[in-house]
Symmetry: C2
Amino acid sequence: MAHPLIRKLEQFTRLSADDQRVLERATSEHIRQFGPREDLLCEGDKPSGVTVVLSGWACRYKQLEDGRSAILAFLLPGDLCDSNIFTLGEMDHSVGALTPVTAAAISRPLFQDLMLNHPPISQALWWEALVGAAIQREWTLNLSQRTAFERLCHLLCELFLRLRAVGLTQGSSCELPVTQAKLAEATGLTLVHLNRTLQELRAANLVVLKSKTLTIPNLEALMSPALFNPNYLHLDRAAIGCAVTELALSRSMDDQSTGPRP
Amino acid sequence: MAHPLIRKLEQFTRLSADDQRVLERATSEHIRQFGPREDLLCEGDKPSGVTVVLSGWACRYKQLEDGRSAILAFLLPGDLCDSNIFTLGEMDHSVGALTPVTAAAISRPLFQDLMLNHPPISQALWWEALVGAAIQREWTLNLSQRTAFERLCHLLCELFLRLRAVGLTQGSSCELPVTQAKLAEATGLTLVHLNRTLQELRAANLVVLKSKTLTIPNLEALMSPALFNPNYLHLDRAAIGCAVTELALSRSMDDQSTGPRP
DNA sequence: CGTCAGGTTGATGCCATTCAACTTAGGTGG
DNA sequence: CCACCTAAGTTGAATGGCATCAACCTGACG
């Protein structure tokens, strides 16, 4: 499969062969593996490199001194953990692995080279950061206004679309390698209540979730109750080019998937 | 008073006289005034310029189709409404004025000149965007984990510190030119419940709020119940230089303010 | 076969919402 | 100067969504 960072940034703009080579080199120097509960980065860490998730799922999270904690974002393959961290003094939150994770660290000089001498890449990194911020805003709205049911619908829609954008869906299915406890932390619900909400989703035939595989028989039916508007993911430019084939592919695989739909 | 954008970016790094001149020119071309309920930007707008708040308060907000809406951020003088919007296709949320607002629009060519030919400025703009994202994460945590009481404490702390960073506090007081309805939208509470929570804050002597003026007799006492950690504002570098005088100034004015503290 | 993580269920209570009314302050016109 | 109006703030009572606590179930694994 293509390099996930390149695949992701190409959602924004086509990168020249040269730029792609530069990115590949930059992300192949310091590769590290992390186990499921391990931290990629801790709050307070001084920047030693920009971290890119190459495979597996991670999450941003933040803890209060009294033990409460929340997941603030899911990081999927191709995502940057600490975009341009060098301009900030230190991490204001932590990043933890949810599954086994492979991550690359881009050293400071390499990163500065990308930013200064490769305008298309630095543009794409801006895009990455801005979309990340847009997603964070949507999560704020999610917690602020949506009910538990809507919240969960919305989260699952988002994850599915983001995974599809980097080619990690199979038809109407994708991996969802996280426990209900983690989904609860991400939606601001208790584990118990999340479990019940999930059962509502199943009862309404909006999702099938079994053994870490999520199937969405009818994506629009899931988007509708959440009032899901995908504009905040800013995948539109990609839509002009890639997503046509992407969509066609996804559709054709829908046909051979288990759940036939009206 | 100094130019608010310059003042803000200098929280991150000292700008040369030349850079300051460039910024001043960039933000003096297209000045616009907005009335209290007017929109500076609407969801779906295509970028026509980067908007900077010069005076007054604005907010990012997002509405759901069924009428629910939430305030996602407060924009104070010096804040950018749509950082680097040119790399995104369109606005994914709206920006509205809460008070009379003066804003400048930086045109596309001017903005690109800043980004390409003035590294210290483009660095500072990265910092601005990253801090904005960090604040958004903190708001996510706020909504996800903190109680109504803690949430309000936290919000007021943040606003006070951000205002102080751009020199808009007088001793332990600052303007808070927003209605309780807006504070409710920002904290994800109903108006009624926000009102009651605010009364709790007053009863606990944590704040004095009258005729749009907020006074915080003891900032640490307000930070404590919210488990407020200012690291996410990334004002630390400034702290090395400016904030010493800033703090000294603030202290000396505390002395002549109404509420003496132990 | 015991253990443990992950998932499911029931009972109970509180925090926050909802609806509805009332107060206060500022502004405007007769 | 008072009658009226509107926006903002305040209060009470009833409802409900979600949390909390405590079991219990299930499958994977050594």
